[in-house]
């Protein structure tokens, strides 16, 4: 394949943010900065930043949202950018779209960049669809003449022909999204930055949007930077993907490998969490979480299971509810962010016996996820305490614990001896009944 020219080059891009209460000490910091500057010294606050890890408390008030990010994009390429929340994707896009400036580093571009950070930017509810197309287009950097020449196409793509002269406030949210995407998709700039637009709109429109993105990239030779949490969309649209983690590029290359990298990174499986004292535990006067644990058959803490193992999940909580019946709740979420199922303590047959007296106590509820049910992969657990009728959640901790399930294909599992890729997000062992009539009956 012929290498096309580099259209966008990001070099050592870094962006520092100040954490904490803004407004206290800013004037003194400003003065300090200025004092250093006039003496020709380095900015005293750029050196003390550290890597952006959200879950560890840094020593300084300054963090690098992105640090030394570099990559090239070639003309006509659709580049995916993925990363967990807080990995620096949005910051990168904001700098690319000139919404904010980098602290260090440089972006060089050979084409106009237009961004689609969030759809419907600048839509005015009182204006008609037509007026909004012009306004939105101009905000995104088109001239009036450009919009005029594309107007019919935009309206048709959005499927709002009947409503062009209706104020946008009467549009459904789906129509608004379609219109906004249509305007942005018909932009002329050589580089289009798209962030999570496909999460909205109905299935038909999503298909259309993905198709349009492919057209933009392939047919029209435009370059697209595509940021999403949706691995399927990333897979469909891009060949190359950059994975960001804690503000740094940890992978840059083939999309399939990138997704694998993204799924593997960071999820340090953690089978146990405990809050030492009631006062600091999440919850309220009706219930507070005490601990949660993932155990194996022997009762040991465990974060790695075979598909053949039962998985036991303990939820321990302070039951302080003297009005309603408390119940422990768990959700199991897979690595693609799909919520596989939710389960409740009240499914226990003797649940009422424990909760009917409404006396305070510490409840330990254990849920069993049966063997031959989950597929292989990494799973995270949401743990919560609440009561139903009325529905009140006292404490909820998303992504509290995590564990891994593997399938070693020894023959007695769901997949039998088959060693290839097994489809499906669950892998339940279901019962089959067989009947066979011989062919040569008489």
């Amino acid at each position: 394949m012929q290498e096309k020219e580099v259209i966008l080059r990001v070099e050592n891009l870094s962006k520092q943010y100040r954490l904490g209460v803004i407004g206290t000490g800013t004037i003194s910091h400003d003065l300090n900065r200025w004092w250093h500057k006039i003496r020709g010294k380095e900015d005293p606050y750029t050196r003390i930043g550290e890597r952006n890890k959200r879950n560890t408390v840094g020593k300084s008030n300054y963090v690098w949202a992105i640090k030394d990010v570099s990559f090239d994009v070639r003309r006509g390429e659709v580049l995916g950018i993925i990363g967990k929340n807080g990995a620096g994707k949005s910051t990168l896009l904001k700098i690319l779209s000139k919404v904010t400036m980098p602290t260090q580093g440089i972006i060089r571009s050979k084409g106009r960049i237009a961004s689609l950070l969030e759809v419907g930017t600048g839509f005015h509810p009182e204006l008609t669809g037509k007026e909004n197309i012009f306004l939105n287009g101009a905000i995104l950097g088109m001239t009036k003449a450009e919009i005029k020449s594309k107007f019919d196409e935009i309206v048709e793509f959005a499927g709002v022909q009947r409503y062009v002269d209706t104020p946008v406030k009467r549009y459904s949210s789906g129509m608004k999204v379609r219109l906004a995407f249509a305007v942005a998709a018909h932009l002329e700039p050589e580089i289009l930055v798209v962030d999570e637009v496909l999460a909205v709109g109905d299935a038909e429109f999503q298909k259309k949007a993905i198709g349009k993105m492919q057209d933009i990239a392939k047919g029209e030779g435009r370059t697209v930077l595509f940021v999403s949490h949706d691995m399927d969309a990333i897979q469909k649209l891009t060949q190359r993907t950059v994975v960001l983690a804690d503000g740094e590029v940890i992978f840059d290359g083939d999309t399939d490998k990138a997704i694998q990298e993204y799924l593997n990174q960071g999820l340090d499986t953690k089978p146990y969490h405990e809050w030492e004292r009631m006062e600091i535990a999440p919850g309220n006067d009706f219930g507070r979480l005490k601990s949660a644990a993932i155990r194996n058959e022997k009762g040991e803490l465990c974060n790695r299971f075979s598909v053949r193992d039962d998985i036991f999940i303990d939820v321990e909580y302070w039951d302080l509810n003297t009005e309603y019946h408390n119940t422990a709740i768990i959700h199991v979420v897979n690595e693609r962010g799909q919520r596989l199922f939710a389960s409740n303590e009240f499914n226990a047959p003797d649940w009422l016996e424990y909760h009917d007296k409404k006396n305070k106590g510490i409840v330990t509820a254990t849920c069993t996820i049966p063997r031959h049910f989950l597929a292989e992969g990494q799973f995270s657990l949401l743990v919560a305490v609440g009561n139903y009728n009325p529905e009140i959640i006292h404490a909820v901790e998303d992504n509290l614990l995590s564990f891994e399930v593997f399938d070693d294909t020894t023959g007695d599992g769901v997949r039998g001896p088959y060693a290839g890729k097994w489809p499906g997000i669950l892998r339940p062992m279901l019962s089959w009944k067989i009947k066979k009539e011989p062919l040569d009956k008489n």
Binding site: K94, M101, P102, I107, L135, G141
Partner: protein
């Protein structure tokens, strides 16, 4: 690997910037957006309820009535041959354009946080468009003024129109530039020091009283000691308002030299505002 090849980049995004780069070229590229914003303001103003546009009639009229009662009725300020109500209406009409521009542009960053956080366009388009679309409101108020002017002219208490009226666009331009420039400075400062917003409303009120809106400029040096009166006498706004009244009434004074000096000042204020504004727009989204 890349062969070393020559790149001609269209533009660069980097932390460095030239303080004196006013980006006029970029503003020109976005002139369509400017006009569309103006159109939006005009259309939405028109689409508002009856009270919206009506307010632009009521506000100057009521203010003018009250000023006439207080300053001419009670305080007994002499407006010469010109009817006191018409005198005040003239001052308020031109003052309103300045104060509306200042008020509307001084919260540019806060008000447009949402849109500024998502797309880039030269931010200055926003306050510029406000200044332009405020011309419409100014136009409405000028129409009322003309109506009353004709009424009082028939009565014989409207003075006479001076040939200097040809300079009116210049006067409006000065007011717009001053309002826009100050508004941009304030809006930039507000992103850092939030409490400033409260001061703006109050500050505009105070400014009005030292800008000769409801009294002739000459009266100041007569009635006040010089260590106070200079505030009004050297206030460019007071000069502009006094000049406007001279144009329509031939009462008071009009100093051409002073007008051009004020023009210079307003352009300097505007450019200074633009520098601060451009500096703020680069990173303001991190602080709001």
């Amino acid at each position: 690997m890349d062969k070393p090849q020559k790149h001609t980049w269209l533009f660069e995004i980097s932390p460095k910037s030239n303080l004196l780069d006013f980006k006029f070229k970029e503003i020109w590229q976005y002139r369509d957006l400017l006009m569309l914003f103006v159109r939006r303001d005009v259309v939405t103003l028109y689409k508002q309820t009856v009270l919206g546009p009506l307010w632009y009639l009521i506000q100057p009229l009521l203010t003018s009535v009250i000023f006439t009662l207080v300053f001419n009725g009670i305080a007994d300020i002499n407006t010469g041959t010109v009817n006191a109500f018409l005198f005040n209406l003239a001052g308020i009409t031109i003052w309103n354009y300045f104060s509306e521009c200042l008020k509307a542009t001084s919260d540019t960053f806060k008000k447009n946080e949402n849109i500024f956080g998502k797309v880039y366009f030269p931010r200055v388009i926003m306050p510029l468009s406000i200044t332009v679309s405020n011309l419409l409101k100014f136009g409405i108020q000028v129409l009322i003024f003309i109506a009353f002017y004709i009424f009082f002219a028939i009565e014989g208490s409207a003075g006479s129109i001076s040939p200097y009226l040809a300079l009116l666009p210049l006067i409006v331009f000065i007011m717009g530039m001053l309002g826009l420039g100050l508004g941009m400075i304030i809006s930039s400062m507000v992103t850092k020091y939030r409490d400033l917003t409260f001061l703006v409303q109050f500050g505009i009120q105070l400014l009005m009283y030292v800008s000769a809106v409801m009294y002739p400029l000459a009266i100041v040096s007569q009635k006040l000691p010089s260590y106070v009166s200079w505030i009004v006498e050297y206030n460019p706004l007071a000069r502009v308002i006094e000049s406007f009244r001279y144009m329509v009434f031939q009462e008071g004074e009009l100093d051409l030299g002073f007008i051009f000096l004020t023009l210079g000042i307003s352009i300097i204020v505007f450019l200074f505002g633009l520098i601060i504004f451009n500096k703020t727009e680069r990173n303001f989204i991190d602080t709001v």
